[in-house]
């Protein structure tokens, strides 16, 4: 089955079969990255606008490479260089971009729901590249692809998501995606950083890292998002690191074939010791490589056919 939708806004509204299609397509796209000439003509003549109104290197570069390898024309608009600094509203910026007839707008915005607003207003495809604390669907898809590649399947696997759950759109998207694909998820972190009622998403909650990571297939460490913290959520970085940082000693209690993931950028020495981040269990760089494949798959699946009737 294909993707019968105009936009990719969130994981929670995707069917498991759609996730499967995206992952299968991404797996096929990986072959292109190994070629000498990394370019196929699939999206020749299509225009993709990367509208990044919040800082990002990895995701923006990843979308840019994905678009270019598929031969689309990719234009980057960043917050600091756009008319947003002159007081233009997001809707005005978007309407002006649409007047230039792009086929897709990839948007990152600090406000949750910004991509949904654009999707309702614009005729072209919208891809959510991270909106506030809501969702980061392409990150969750690349995480699923990385796990599936390493384990051969998703169903039945167990995952611990550790750290700043409250401020993490990556955690929200991953929980939704992993639950849909039949995985069990435990979230762990300081009580102040675990949102009340998160059990309703079908996850278990734990407060001790050592217990949580003992029997899981995957440990996903999250970045402590200090820029989003409006109050004192943790007593000190040192204490956080001592209790929730993944060190070699704590890792000794985990399974021998555990996968360690991180959406990046890693605060080395805080959520993860450098020797863990660079160690044999870490698949952080595979996640980055798979990011390009997943974004190629999405651009292809959303733009490869005739645009949906608006």
């Amino acid at each position: 089955m294909g993707l019968k939708r105009k936009d990719l806004l969130e994981i929670r509204s995707l069917e498991p079969a759609e996730i499967q299609t995206i992952l299968d397509t991404a797996a096929s796209m990986k072959e292109i990255a190994s070629r000498e000439i990394k370019k196929v003509p699939a999206l020749r003549g299509k225009t993709v606008v990367n509208l990044f109104l919040e800082p990002s290197t990895r995701t923006r570069t990843s979308f840019e490479i994905a678009g270019k390898w598929l031969s689309a024309d990719v234009i980057n608009v960043s917050g600091s260089s756009s008319s947003v600094v002159k007081g233009e509203t997001l809707m005005d910026t978007a309407k002006n971009i649409e007047a230039m007839s792009p086929d897709c707008v990839v948007i990152r915005h600090s406000a949750s729901g910004a991509p949904h607003m654009l999707a309702r207003a614009l005729k072209c495809s919208i891809i959510n590249a991270g909106d506030g604390m809501h969702e980061h669907p392409t990150q969750a898809l690349l995480d699923l692809l990385t796990i599936r590649e390493k384990r051969g399947h998703l169903e039945g696997l167990s995952v611990a998501i550790v750290g700043d759950i409250a401020h993490s759109r990556v955690a929200r998207s991953n929980i939704a995606g992993m639950r849909k694909m039949g995985m069990s998820v435990t979230v762990a972190g300081p009580p102040t950083l675990i949102p009340p009622g998160i059990e309703e998403l079908g996850v278990k909650v734990a407060y001790r890292l050592e217990d949580t990571i003992r029997d899981v297939d995957v440990i996903m460490m999250l970045r402590l998002q200090q820029e989003r913290m409006t109050a004192n959520y943790i007593p000190s970085l040192r204490e956080y690191s001592r209790l929730y940082g993944l060190s070699l000693e704590k890792l000794a209690g985990a399974r021998d074939d555990v996968l360690i993931m991180h959406p990046g950028p890693v605060n080395r020495g805080i959520e993860m010791a450098p020797e863990v981040a660079d160690g044999p269990y870490s698949v952080i760089l595979e996640q980055v490589a798979n990011g390009v494949a997943v974004r190629m798959a999405l651009l292809y699946l959303l733009l490869g056919g005739k645009p949906a009737e608006a």
Partner: protein, 182 residues
């Protein structure tokens, strides 16, 4: 649209004979299997390429590498489809540079698939020579493309559909012409 089977064009021995003849022709033209590789176009072209490779091995005693090519990303009608066609991986386990590549497909029709396949191969390297082998050539070319090896020439009407069924995919070996009912 309901389809009705109009005629069977090739049965299992017929397909076998055609592939054996193509294998002999390839060897005769290439003067052996040195630098030779077969690339099947997904899906049925790959099975046909494997069968030709088996025959080449029986005749010459050497293994000829076989690759699988997915041409979806090179199609010229991508933007005309309602949704993006399913993508399957291209797997070419050898360097194409300097080789004689025989492209293999089940049916040659407008030539657009072959045009896409040529582009896809060229992106992987610079072969010395590319040839084309097809089980059925049904005519109606829209591009200046001509096969080097043909199992069977089959004049058809545009409204007819030529279906190659292979045991690897369909559980049986036969080629049939179908036409819309009514």
């Amino acid at each position: 649209m309901t389809l009705r089977e109009k005629a069977q064009v090739l049965d299992e021995p017929g397909i076998d004979r055609a592939l054996t003849r193509i294998a002999h022709e390839i060897l005769e033209r290439a003067g052996g299997t040195d630098g030779l590789a077969l690339v099947g176009i997904r899906t049925r072209g790959v099975s046909l390429a494997r069968r030709i490779a088996e025959r080449l091995q029986t005749i010459e005693g050497t293994k000829v590498p076989v690759g699988a090519l997915d041409i979806t990303l090179y199609r010229d009608d991508l933007g005309l489809k309602a949704e993006a066609p399913v993508l399957r991986a291209t797997e070419i386990p050898f360097a194409v540079g300097g080789r004689t590549i025989v492209l293999v497909d089940d049916v040659l029709y407008t030539g657009r698939t072959i045009r896409a396949a040529l582009d896809a191969i060229m992106d992987l390297g610079r072969p010395r020579l590319i040839q084309l082998a097809v089980l059925i050539d049904r005519g109606h070319r829209e591009l200046p493309i001509r096969p080097d090896y043909v199992g069977k020439n089959l004049p058809t009407a545009r409204r007819e559909i030529v279906q190659v069924r292979l045991r690897e995919h369909d559980g049986q070996d036969r080629v049939v012409i179908q036409e819309p009912e009514g």
